[in-house]
Symmetry: C4
Subunit: 236 residues, 4 copies
């Protein structure tokens, strides 16, 4: 912390231009709080997609059979929960690398939050239709995949903007780091594109892929951060 | 930051009256957190207006046709999301200019939050009715426009109050700045008034106007802040 | 702030007993954040009580008539929004007077939040039934009044606990202040009791009383804080 | 606080390894804010399980009878509210003992939040079915009990991880403390297991047990923290 403060002080001294426009740049604290708020709410609203079934309509076995029949909705819930959780963890790491937000970063972050806040909708579609099979199941699963692809866009644009404007980054985080993150963040797009294509014929397989990608990201993000830590260690 | 702290210290020294009434004035931190919370929740609750359609009722094409038929609800969602996002960004900038909240500012801010928190309701009305055409579509679109107009009121009253009580402003932010913001914040009212009138005959055009105004504000707010930054640069 | 820090340091030095049990006492920061979160969410969830009406069921006038017929739900929404807003403002002021939370304060605060979080339920009852008249309207309006009375209880218990344990209060805030707040916080109970009785025969009048009490509290809370500020000014 | 800061400074100096991997470890502040957000939202969303009854369907007594018939839903609401409240209080205490989060702690915390965020679902099941009696009531009550058992798992894993990696703990909080918390946190599991078994034959008794366990935890957590405070007092 003290090391970072010194870094910021030094950075400010060597960048008078940034200081002159200080009024346009804003502290990261409130962006962080607002983003965390939106992600915390979106992740918690997902539970509303777990509907209380009408047991009377399910015949003799009643509630237990009705709950069991809705198993794809639980996997969709877990996949969406894990996805927002991973985005939060990565966002957490992203924000810690940004020294200052300019207007463009504000807007790209808002677009990212738009994707996160919208995720409960295709999740609800999957929860309702993916278990029924047929074209409706494919449409529901494809909707989820398409939103996941779209969500990758602002993420990549944020890292590209940071790569091209390294003065917005924290001291010790440079152009190379932003480039590496840009590549790492783009991995998800082709995976989700394939899963979306799969959803057109095998929606339940696509659902499994969504959950799998989220779980995989969770595991690799742990190992994937080690080199970053090392890089940062060198820089300091 | 250090410059601002010095500014506050100097300001406090020269305003013994403000100190004597310190108990009535409160730190901006918690107002900011509460306001951010309400705006983050309102923006995320909007997704509940995107209803899972009943595919069986939509005939042979099923879910895809049912989703496609609800296209105006997606535009209404985007317009409302963008509107709250813009209000958040401007609120962010507003709070950074306020040194202390008095009781009147607290209440005006609460009225502003009332507008933001209520926005999901006319958005839901539009999502449900604006695509159906006829008088119901007009009523739904007009309801959204009226709320947008009403939301401008506390915003203008806040800046007017700050213009008349510059001692509540941060050092280096003066009467002239508050006056400029008062004018800038009032631009939206006539635009929304026109859009509301348009909604009475062409509700879908009004919907396009709402989305357009939000997008336009997003773009101009970027350039529009530059002069402010310059002004502030002079003041320091 | 620095004055307060000195105060705390001095207080800690003279209270070795409190230090020995430091593990049981917690910083006020996180209580504040959690309380603000619950109140921000409860106040924003109220909008879900404003239901999109089924225009087709409303005959020839359609949506406009259906919306107009639901006018009591808008007053119920405003009354509940204002009530939570006032509780937030007063909670804000309460927390600023507390130096440390013990286990009892934690639980009383949780009970207070239980009341706030539950308020959307009787508000929904009123929104649905109070306009229909008859015994159902009375039941709905009485449910709101009863919850408002119950909500006064933890509030009074908090101030009583603080009056009896002034070592939990900030320096310069004493037994007398807590006693005065205990009296001020108890004013609402008889008013809501009368309104609840009125609701049994005239539910719409009770609704007007709820909204009126909230508005009145809003106005008087402004003037009512002046003497406190003066008291605090003397203490420092 | 100053004592803790000194402690951290001393700890950092004696642990160069931790510093080299600083990029992988993150400040506890944002984890706390996100966790508080999720818990605040989950606890407030519970109110949506209190449904506005259809009075017309309840015969001559109308709304009052319909509300009274739903009494188990109010107990389920109170039990769930109290349960999340207790988890929050304990989480609050947990976080204050953690100096730094590694990737594993992040994931275990996310799993804990998954449990908390999911609680409104079995609560809604109980609210709807536990009063009806029969196998559906048992299924609903057992679902709540099973989730409560599952929620105990990440809690125990967090304390086990902290016991095995005491370098993640705050100065003065050691292996013994984490071991004691691990035992204390495991008490709930057998109690909920018994309640879940009871729910299979007597769902309403299970509901009473859930509410009772929550209330009991609330009372004992007060006394149960005293020895911890003493332990900590010795350590410092």
């Amino acid at each position: 912390m003290t090391a970072e403060d010194q870094g910021n002080a030094g950075m400010a001294a060597s960048r008078p231009h940034a200081d002159a426009h200080l009024g346009r740049l804003s502290a990261t604290g409130r962006v962080e709080a607002f983003s965390d708020g939106v992600m915390a709410i979106a992740i918690t609203l997902l539970v509303l997609d777990l509907k209380v079934p009408d047991a009377a309509a399910s015949g003799t076995n009643g509630l237990l059979a009705a709950l069991a029949a809705r198993w794809p909705s639980y996997i969709a819930y877990l996949a969406a929960f894990l996805t927002i959780g991973i985005i939060w963890l990565n966002h957490h790491s992203l924000i810690s690398k940004i020294a200052r937000f300019d207007a463009r970063l504000h807007w790209l972050n808002l677009l990212l939050l738009l994707g996160v806040a919208t995720l409960p909708f295709p999740t609800a579609l999957m929860a309702e239709y993916v278990g029924q099979g047929g074209p409706n199941a494919s449409v529901a699963a494809a909707a989820y995949g398409l939103l996941a692809i779209v969500m990758g866009l602002p993420w990549s644009l944020i890292w590209r903007h940071l790569r091209d404007h390294p003065e917005l980054l924290e001291l010790g985080v440079g152009r190379a780091y932003a480039g590496a993150e840009l590549r790492r963040g783009s991995i998800g797009v082709p995976i989700y594109a394939v899963a979306t294509l799969v959803s057109l014929v095998l929606p339940l397989v696509a659902l499994a892929l969504y959950a799998g990608v989220a779980a995989l990201y969770a595991i690799t993000s742990q190992g994937g951060r080690d080199p970053d830590a090392a890089t940062e260690g060198h820089a300091r």
